[in-house]
């Protein structure tokens, strides 16, 4: 184990060694030109020097001299910057300001106070070996693309996810000043503990976004614990595919499974694990797809982890489409434009060429782009087809958006036209997670964050069907807990998805969509009546207990709409109080227990009070023990990330 000190010593020694052996010509040239500059400056300055040269100038005299010198010299070598520097420096308070002009000071301080998130640290590459199988496309229009693809593939076989070392290879410039961090995240305070006697009903919308997990991973790979507001526990849990019991054909589009298990971080409470497994419709019978790629080509997208990765990601996805599917590309930067009219997916070369020609530049007119994309989508849609706008952006909307509410309202309006909106986030630094969430939630879509090609593979290839084909719209979950059995409860995660109790039956209230074959998990921590973990004392003068059967722990109600339908359907099922120990319908509890480990991990990252002494080590053990078959290696990666978080948090 190398000690800290020797890291610094090693860097120092390496720098010293590398800086030796300079070229004498360059040194001589620099010294000579500098001397010339000196003479030229003296000549221009001599006539106006008012005091004997040997005496240091007083502060104000110096300032006056400087001003005079500059005015007479006019446009010679002086710049306004020099005026500013000179004046600032000679005032007693100016010592610090000397470093830079006032405008720059604000910029700097913004960068300093922001999360230590170094844009220049580059993107991580934790491509799974499967990526290496992607054939590099070569076509006339894409001169630079194949090279980029080759580059990434060369990086792919790294056994360690997110090897930062190789990330340096994809960095454009090591010397660029990291832009001030302007990331914003959507989150809310942790759900509070509810007392069942007072608030027996809990209502929320499902959330199948996965963006938070990818952001957490990206942060950890860069060597930082993620900012707490970036951690949305339900998105971390729902990132992983689970093999919950599938619904029977012909019934509801999904099947709920409830299990009650011992809370790992508190021996006196229980966790109620609620899983919804969506059905996987026959792939062959899927409707034709109309996809509008709405691509942010503003200047901020030029980072290698943004537009170039986006292009590669869409190329992967193109292989999943059928000849009958239609693709269109709309870009937006300062102005919005349709760069590819609706084109059958069979015309690969036209699509690839349009993709390759995209380049970044200008500011971001997100609103104009969305309007154009929805217009295009409206032209493409025919009955029986699924139309979806896929917005790819770093979320940095800085032009044309005077009112964020107006934008989300616009999207909500378009949602009723039947067009879905998915948001793919790229890059870090000015990732506007809050806007992305708002757009996707209002647009009946999902938000995913793509930081590596392997994540693109997961989102756009492995789970494309789920991402593109909804099987149930506006899925809402409501649980009524039985106060005779449950004293207190709290919902872990879903803070940004909370619904009012009355929203459950109101079909006009929007909620999350469930994609084909996807699953959703929600976990409640409950305190049974009589448990020593109960935090609130029972009321002495409470109303007499209602007629409650203590054989039921609670009552689960689900509402959803068939895709495109206006009215919802209801599914109800009681949760038996006897159901325990993670055994549900004879299924082993690996999936549930792994989800719980991730829930614990998310709470640790959020700095939650609820986990007590239970720490990363226990979370790692729990997750590692319940990885299951893990065919794609996601869970193994998660365990590695948890170990990384453990190391980072102990610093």
């Amino acid at each position: 184990m190398t000690a800290d000190r020797s890291d610094l010593d090693r860097l120092r020694a390496a720098l010293d060694a590398a800086s030796r052996g300079r070229e004498p010509e360059r040194r001589g040239e620099t010294l000579r030109v500098a001397a010339e500059n000196f003479r030229a400056l003296q000549e221009s300055r001599d006539p106006v020097r008012p005091t004997p040269a040997t005496r240091p100038l007083g502060i104000w005299q110096g300032a006056r001299t400087m001003l005079k010198t500059l005015t007479t010299r006019g446009g010679l070598t002086a710049t306004t910057a020099l005026v500013a520097c000179g004046l600032l420096f000679v005032t007693p308070m100016g010592q610090d300001l000397w470093r830079r002009g006032p405008a720059e000071i604000t910029e700097r301080s913004a960068g300093n106070t922001a999360m230590p998130q170094d844009e220049a640290a580059g993107r991580q590459t934790n491509d799974a070996p499967t990526i290496a199988a992607v054939p590099p496309e070569v076509d006339g229009g894409a001169m630079s693309e194949p090279k980029l693809a080759a580059e990434s593939m060369a990086l792919a076989p790294s056994p360690v996810p997110g090897n930062i070392g190789i990330a340096a290879g994809s960095m454009a410039d090591s010397v660029a000043l990291p832009a001030p961090d302007t990331e914003t995240f959507a989150n809310a305070d942790e759900n509070p503990l509810r007392i069942t006697a007072e608030n027996p009903v809990s209502t929320f919308s499902i959330d199948v976004d996965t963006a938070s997990w990818a952001v957490v991973r990206n942060s950890l790979m860069q060597g930082y614990l993620p900012p707490r507001e970036a951690v949305r526990v339900e998105e971390m849990i729902n990132y992983f595919p689970y093999d919950y019991p599938a619904p029977e054909a012909g019934g509801a589009p999904f099947r709920p499974t409830v299990s009650v298990v011992q809370t790992p971080w508190n021996p006196d409470t229980r966790l109620v694990h609620i899983a919804l497994q969506g059905q996987m419709p026959e792939i062959a019978a899927r409707p034709d797809l109309n996809l509008v790629f709405l691509i942010d080509t503003s200047g901020s997208m030029e980072d290698p982890a943004k537009l170039p990765l986006l292009k590669q990601s869409f190329r992967l996805m193109l292989d999943q489409l059928r000849p009958e599917d239609q693709v269109s590309i709309v870009t937006y930067a300062g102005s919005a434009g349709e760069v590819l009219p609706p084109t059958p997916a069979s015309d690969r070369s036209a699509i690839l060429k349009a993709l390759a020609n995209l380049s970044a530049g200008g500011s971001t007119n997100g609103q104009g782009g969305l309007q154009q994309a929805y217009d295009t989508a409206a032209r493409m849609s025919e009955s029986g087809e699924v139309t979806r706008v896929i917005l790819a952006t770093d979320g940095d909307f800085n032009v044309g958006l005077s009112d964020p509410q107006a934008l989300t309202d616009y999207i909500a309006e378009q949602r009723d036209s039947g067009t879905y909106l998915s948001v793919l986030g790229f890059g870090r630094g000015n990732l506007d997670d809050a806007t992305m969430q708002a757009l996707a939630q209002n647009g009946n879509g999902t938000a995913a964050y793509i930081d590596t090609l392997s994540e693109a593979q997961k989102v756009l290839v492995d789970q494309l069907t789920g991402a593109l084909f909804p099987i149930a719209d506006d899925v809402k979950v409501q649980i009524e807990f039985n106060p005779a059995v449950v004293a207190e409860y709290r919902l872990i995660g879903y803070e940004t998805r909370a619904l009012n109790r009355e929203d459950f039956n109101n079909d006009r209230v929007d909620a999350g969509e469930l994609g084909a074959g996807l699953s959703v998990t929600a976990i409640y921590e409950i305190t049974p009546v009589g448990s020593p973990a109960r935090l609130s004392d029972p009321l002495r003068y409470a109303a007499p207990e209602p007629v409650a059967e203590d054989t039921e722990l609670g009552f689960l109600k689900l509402r959803w709409k068939a895709p495109g339908a206006d009215t919802s359907q209801l599914m109800e099922t009681p949760i038996p109080a006897s159901q325990t120990d993670g055994q549900t319908d004879g299924q082993p509890g690996d999936d549930a227990l792994f989800a719980i480990a991730i829930a614990g991990f998310g709470q640790l990252l959020r700095g939650s009070d609820w986990t007590g002494d239970w720490g990363y080590a226990q979370a790692i053990d729990l997750a590692a023990a319940h990885r299951g078959t893990d065919p794609f290696g996601y869970r193994t990666e998660a365990v590695q990330l948890m170990r990384l978080a453990q190391s980072l948090s102990s610093n």
């Binding site: 500059n37 630079s144 090897n163």
Partner: protein, 180 residues
């Protein structure tokens, strides 16, 4: 005789118009300045350009030198600021350059050049954010934390914090490559 004159006296003489004093001063500090610039940029060619930028601007800048600060402190501040300006110009230029294609070609050639030199040092330097790099560049020159703080115009505590941050970055680099 002149070689024993203090930096500060030389600087004052140079500010007063003594060309020989200016040359001596530059001669005396060029190597140390270059070493600093190298640590600031981590790239030899960049460091040479940066050193040149600083030297050429120095005659005009010397007018701002007050005798009561140590010349090296002042000079380092000039250097760190110049490095900042350069990074910013670089970033702006890159943004303004025509189209993604040109930029990508340039990037690819940079990668090709850099691959051989992609040793631990390069990766470590790239890994470090600019502010941490600046701080280390100064501390490695045997400046005390207080002096580095003065040069950077930040508090001493911030210097110490940045150094510990830099350690974390380097440690993370270890975690990723257990072999080193």
């Amino acid at each position: 005789m002149r070689m024993t004159t203090s930096d500060e006296d030389l600087a004052r003489a140079a500010a007063a118009g003594d060309a020989a004093a200016f040359s001596t001063l530059l001669e005396r500090h060029y190597d140390r300045l270059f070493a600093l610039c190298f640590r600031l940029t981590g790239v030899r060619a960049e460091a040479e350009d940066l050193t040149q930028d600083i030297c050429l601007a120095l005659p005009a800048k010397l007018a701002g030198f007050r005798g009561n600060a140590r010349l090296t402190t002042w000079l380092y501040r000039v250097a760190v600021n110049a490095a900042h300006d350069r990074r910013r110009r670089h970033a702006t230029h890159r943004r303004a350059s025509e189209g993604w294609g040109d930029w990508e070609l340039a990037r690819q050639s940079e990668i090709a050049e850099g691959r051989e030199a992609m040793d631990w040092l390069t990766r470590a330097m790239r890994r470090l954010p600019a502010d941490l790099r600046d701080t280390l560049a100064l501390v490695f020159d045997d400046l005390t934390h207080a002096e580095a703080a003065q040069v950077l115009g930040i508090s001493e505590g911030t210097v110490s914090w940045r150094i510990s941050e830099a350690r974390k970055h380097l440690r993370a680099l270890h975690t990723e490559e257990p072999s080193t």
